[in-house]
Amino acid sequence: MTKNWKMPKWFYQLGSPRWFYDISGKLLPGFSIAALLLLLVGVVWALAFAPADYQQGNSFRIIYIHVPAAILAQSCYIMMAIAGAISLIWKMKVADMVAKSCAPLGATIAVLALATGAIWGKPTWGAWWVWDARLTSMLILLFLYIGVYTLHTTVESEVNAGQAGAVLSLVGLVNIPIIKYSVEWWNTLHQPATFTVTEKPAMPSEMWVPLLIMVLGFYCFFAVSLMLRTRVEILHRERRSGWVQQLIEERQHVL
């Protein structure tokens, strides 16, 4: 006898590609405007108004890209793993499409975190790269993204591709706490976390407020890009269904 788990109605609605397409279409304008405003204010504040660090000078301004990118690269990975798990357990199509969309997005953000870290490392540590626990675990995160992306795009059957990608992303989840605690477990050049839940940031508010704005801006950008990517995936996979055919026809009238 199998026990039937009752999930709330919205959970099953999430599984409907058409429902996701409609709701994301309504959410996109708001998130786009928020992302644009936050990033614009954040960048101007970060570059021209925030004070320089007394030790690192103006190279410190790289933090406003580096930290949001590093945080987002990890959040995106967790999201990809959760979406993968949902698609494995409940066979939810949209979850699989979200997981697939997270992979290239997260990979490019991980590249951004690594690249800005290297460029920041040069004037600060005197080296572009060191084989340090934080940097190495971040590089592994990038390889995991590339692996998941490759599985999703090269495995012939969509179902097998999704399952393989989900399993790899779930296994790779173990890397996330390693990234987080790498600065505490091993001796490292890398400085500890800027934001923690329990303590006030060590830097003055003129520095952390723009950083917080940038982090929020990156999250809004993430929402926009993820929705756009997932919508393309939905259109592609549902191209034979009536509602997508109708969308195509509607587009033709506009053209």
Partner: protein, 50 residues
């Protein structure tokens, strides 16, 4: 503003190149992640144009 002049903002006390390259890479990567799905959406409707 933190800097006294525009040229000082560009120079960033000698760190200008490092800082500006980081922001340029960020712009490129964020734009790519927005433009790429938009182009794919456009292509989708173009290919299914009958």
């Amino acid at each position: 503003m933190y800097f006294d002049s525009f040229s000082e903002l560009l120079d960033m006390g000698g760190h200008g190149l490092y800082v500006w390259i980081c922001y340029a890479i960020a712009l490129a990567i964020l734009l790519f992640n927005i433009v790429s799905p938009l182009l794919k959406t456009k292509q989708f409707f173009y290919h299914h144009y009958r």
